[in-house]
């Protein structure tokens, strides 16, 4: 199984990590401030990363009301979910990982 260019780019700069967060929370979404804390990335790094994921339509950004203020909340999209699964499948297909799983299974 081959990874396409987008999948490879996802893996670089922890984009996959950010996508994993959003995959986990799925329809509940995650606030920007929580993504920042969880990924440990600075604004100058996380901002462009989210922009890239948004441009690829893997995630979407929504302004949500939190009492008297508006907060940016990010959600994974169907396309993002599919891409995430593709990357995971590829990772699991790696010989080293497969061998590891097989070894543990036996």
């Amino acid at each position: 199984m081959k990874l396409d260019r987008e999948c490879r780019r996802l893996l670089i700069y922890s984009r996959l990590g950010t996508l994993s967060q959003l995959y986990f929370f799925d329809r509940d979404g995650v606030q920007y401030i929580d993504l920042k804390t969880e990924t440990g990335l600075k604004d100058s790094f996380l901002g462009p990363q989210l922009k890239w994921l948004e441009d690829k339509r893997y995630i979407r950004r929504k302004e949500e009301s939190m009492d008297d203020k508006k907060e940016a909340v990010y959600y994974i999209t169907d396309k993002g979910r599919e891409k995430y699964k593709t990357v995971l499948d590829w990772l699991l297909s790696l010989p080293a990982i497969k061998t590891g799983i097989d070894t543990k299974a036996t």
């Binding site: 967060q21 986990f24 929370f25 799925d26 509940d28 995650v30 606030q31 949500e64 009492d67 909340v73």
Partner: protein
């Protein structure tokens, strides 16, 4: 308890507490998660397993259930027992139903750190840990959340006991102050 019944109970708790939620809104989903966690502790009826995630205690199962049963919220969705009604009435009296999502998140997070992790922790340790996990929080907001948590968890019976202890302790002072006032008014009249 099956999933359908669990979410019925959550909806009933929130209805009794007068908390209006719309599953489509982010702030409402935080309220459902945190109220379910805190009410589960208070009412000794933990309907869902909660783990620590980005926003503090969070239950993936609850998420699935509230999306599946979103029409239940705001409607008659199950009966409550007398104890539940009594405690929820107390929370309403103390305006706990108007807590904002940020405060609820702090309250649930503090409780989780203090009591639901590998070992029990005191308040000071919990505050420090929460500040490490969520460095963007202000100390004053955490302290406010801690006070709200204490009030939330103070059950009706414990409150009565506490009030009677306080009354006993302050009784001599009140008596003394009353006799002072009487003496003062007596003196004033004489003058």
């Amino acid at each position: 308890m099956d999933n359908g019944r669990r979410i019925h109970r959550v909806a009933a708790w929130l209805r009794e507490l007068d908390v209006k939620v719309d599953v489509e809104l982010f702030a409402s989903r935080i309220k459902i998660q945190k109220f379910t966690y805190l009410l589960g502790v208070l009412l000794n009826d933990r309907l869902y397993d909660f783990g620590w995630f980005t926003k503090g205690p969070y239950s993936k199962e609850l998420t699935e259930d509230y999306y599946a049963g979103k029409e239940l919220f705001g409607k008659g969705a199950g009966k409550l027992n007398d104890n539940e009604k009594k405690e929820i009435a107390r929370l309403k009296n103390e305006k706990m139903n108007s807590l904002d999502p940020d405060t609820l998140e702090i309250m649930a997070s503090l409780y989780f750190i203090m009591h639901d992790e590998t070992r029990e922790k005191d308040e000071e340790t919990a505050i420090k840990e929460l500040m490490e996990r969520k460095p963007y929080l202000e100390l004053r907001d955490i302290v406010r959340g801690l006070n709200a948590l204490k009030e939330f968890m103070l059950k009706e019976n414990d409150r009565k006991k506490l009030l009677s202890v306080l009354e006993k302790e302050t009784e001599p002072f009140e008596r003394a102050s009353l006799s002072d006032m009487n003496a003062f008014s007596g003196t004033s009249r004489e003058e």
